[in-house]
């Protein structure tokens, strides 16, 4: 499967009378986009805002973050099975608005979480302080059920991303990147000398606010299976997960899966990157056993020499991670696992909820309990009352000068378990 990503660089966004892309600026007709979003009768009103890198702006709470992409000449479309048909994606050409993100904010539940600071100390810990963000604060009627509310905001984000993506049709990008994965046997005969590597991606799949969708299928109900890496680049996997801001994967993370990007960088050089195995993280223990058994069976069947395993979320996924690691290692396949830690504010507690000696190659996204001080921001987009709630929810404090002390876990993407960021932790 061969995919070309056509990168159109965007470094500014403005509201305007007409939606279009001009000179690396994304112009948006506010009313047109609002009307599109309000077509969903569940949504009562929506506010659109722009947050730029370096501005004294805080976005909170954060439901999801998405990157505008579009498939120009294709029978398939981005976000298959959700807002496009179910045709297989991952080949042909896809336009990417690089430097832009759609951030959805919506008070689905009373404890909605997630902070993005566009400047100051907090900005260092999220990738979205570096993107120009279109923030959509969605309001639904009070009587709406939480499930419907979540779904409405999820789809609003997807539709907005598609709407913006469409503006790139006909535009010559600034750069083109090509990614190709051959069918397994061809790949092996093409690179007979190179060690074969697969990527095992664990997807959060526990229920309301904890779900992930693959071609529109709830990951709770899947058995571990294979994807071509490029399918993710076309939005095959989208996030319905909005709990645990620091280590949940936003849709943007799925679209820009960094493990896939970095494996491709070494593909044909040091390794033969053969494909992606996705698996889930269900609550029912028998499911965990079944999924990890299947995952180990699949990677063995693929005949790989090594895998990278990434996880998502807090607590029980540590069990899945260790099960996957243990079972794959026992088949003589090398593993590297990517996780984050909850080692307490002083870093003295045990970092993971589960452990095994075979997990001897670990990459960490950092200790999510570590405290940081967020600079006061002039403007807050989203639900302002959340400023106090977020500080309170993580037993944080608001200082007199308006700065907030919180645990790192409050920041979107801060300890991401795909290894999206440069944060790590060490023993002292």
């Amino acid at each position: 499967m061969r995919l070309e990503l056509n990168y159109i660089t965007i470094n500014e966004m403005q509201f305007s009378s007409m939606s279009k892309i001009h000179n690396q600026t994304l112009l948006i007709n506010k009313k047109e986009l609002e009307d599109l979003i309000l077509k969903d009768e569940h949504i009562q009103s929506v506010e659109l805002d722009i947050a730029r890198p370096g501005e004294s702006v805080r976005i909170t709470p954060v439901k999801d973050v998405l990157e505008p992409r579009i498939k120009e000449q294709s029978s398939s479309g981005v976000f298959p099975g959700v807002i496009s048909g179910v045709e297989t994606v991952g080949s042909g050409r896809t336009n990417v608005l690089k430097g832009v993100a759609v951030v959805t904010s919506g008070r689905i539940v009373g404890f909605q979480e997630g902070i993005i600071d566009m400047s100051g100390e907090g900005a260092k810990y999220t990738p979205f302080s570096e993107t120009v963000n279109l923030v959509m604060t969605c309001h639904c009627h009070d009587s709406i059920k939480a499930h419907e509310h979540e779904k409405a905001v999820r789809y609003a984000g997807l539709r907005a991303a598609e709407y913006l993506g469409k503006l790139s049709i006909g535009i010559e990008g600034d750069s083109l990147e090509t990614y190709e994965t051959l069918p397994l046997l061809q790949s092996v005969s093409h690179y007979p000398e190179l060690p074969k590597v697969a990527y095992v991606q664990m997807l959060q799949s526990q229920g309301l606010l904890h779900d992930t969708y693959v071609y529109g299928v709830d990951a709770k109900h899947i058995l571990p299976t294979l994807l071509y890496p490029t399918e993710l680049m076309d939005g095959a996997i989208i996030s319905g997960n909005c709990v645990s801001a620091c280590d949940k994967n936003t849709t943007y993370h799925h679209q820009n899966n960094c493990v896939i990007q970095d494996l491709f960088k070494q593909h044909g050089k040091e390794i033969n990157f053969v494909g992606v195995v996705i698996t889930n993280e269900n609550v029912y223990l028998a499911d965990k056993e079944r999924s990890s058994d299947w995952t180990a069976k699949l990677v063995e069947y693929l005949g790989v020499d090594g895998v990278i395993i990434s996880q998502e979320g807090f607590g029980n996924p540590d069990t899945d991670l260790i099960m996957n690691c243990r079972k794959i290692e026992s088949k003589g396949i090398d593993t590297v696992i990517i996780t984050d830690e909850y080692a307490g504010r002083d870093g003295a507690s045990q970092s993971l909820a589960d452990a095994h000696q075979s997990a001897d190659a670990v990459v960490t996204g950092g200790n999510a309990n570590e405290l940081i001080v967020l600079d006061p921001m002039k403007k807050t987009i989203g639900h302002i009352e959340y400023v106090e709630k977020i500080a309170g929810g993580f037993n944080g404090n608001i200082n007199e000068n308006g700065s907030i002390v919180v645990e790192l876990q409050a920041i979107i993407g801060s300890t991401n378990e795909l290894g999206f960021g440069k944060l790590s932790a060490k023993d002292i």
Binding site: K124, P195, V197, C258, V259, Q261, D262, L263, K265, Q266, E270, I271, D305, G306, V307, I308, D334, T335, V336, I338, T339, E341, A343, D346, G347, A348, Q350, S351, L352, A355, H356, Q357, A359, D360, A361, V362, V363, T364, G365, G366, N367, E370, L408, N416, L418, G419, F420, G421, K422, L423, S424, A425, K426, D427, I428
Partner: protein
Amino acid sequence: MEKLKIIHYINQFYAGIGGEEKADEPPQLIKGPVGPGIALQAALGESGDIVATVVCGDSTYTEKMDETRERIKELVKPFNFDMIIAGPAFNAGRYGVACGDVASFLQKELGVFALTGMYPENPGVDLYKKELYILETKNSAADMRKAIKKMATFALRMKQNDVIEGYKEEGYIKRGLRRNYFNDKRGSERAVDMLISKMNQRPYETEYSMPEFDRVKPGNSIKDLTKAKIAIVTSGGIVPKGNPDHIESSSASKYGKYSIKEFNNLSNMDHETAHGGYDPIFANEDADRVVPVDVLRDLEKEGKIGKLHPYFYSTTGNGTAVASAKKFATDIALDLKENKVDAVILTST
């Protein structure tokens, strides 16, 4: 940089008061540096001043911890000092515990910097490493000069807020704490590099080491207790009256094997406790409370157990190095096996 003002804590031996026989010396304060403090002062040069030295007996500190700490706090409070430096204690167990405790206590209570120096196996390390920096030393006072130099250098770095948090670079004992930092590369790139190294059998460094669990497979359960030979092993410090083997009240360097052939129960006429970590009144009144010879004799007579092994094994558990405990246990286990003991009752306090 302002001169660093230091309080130095040492024990009765290093103060030149005496050895083990003076271990019950109460805490006292002496102006200026004393004993190894003199070398420490020299190493600090113009940058630091040891304004006073606290001297305290090792037994005093470890057996009366609460009151001794408070007393020391009262002694040092009048001094306007920045840092408490304790030891170095090398491998001396009770001294190490006292150093770790006084340093972390004053750090917490008075908000001062704190540091000490010890050999990694000193029981004080595991107890206090998470609370404060413990510079690594060798296991004897032969290392004094180097240890003092290390502590002085580190002390000055702390004052200047110049500590790089890395135990390898800085020479302190790994604290078992996790600290975030920004790497040059993103996590996924580090993961790919790590996997390539691992697959090619090249060395790599994991970013997180799984905790080591000392897993012991449980033994088979006793099928018939009425035929079983039972032994008692205790870390509660019960010894024959007079403590003939001089088992220490903490940081034990030995264990004892004592006959109970003639005893149906233990009493204050023949046994006592050597353990310095709990109020000894009840154990001294009746040692059966820690080593239940009376109950086991009854059970033996009633035929509920097969036989009570004619010896019990005893040491004191508090502040005893893990390495020492492992060694004692290995020796005791061999003896138990030779004597065909089926099960052991372990008591502690």
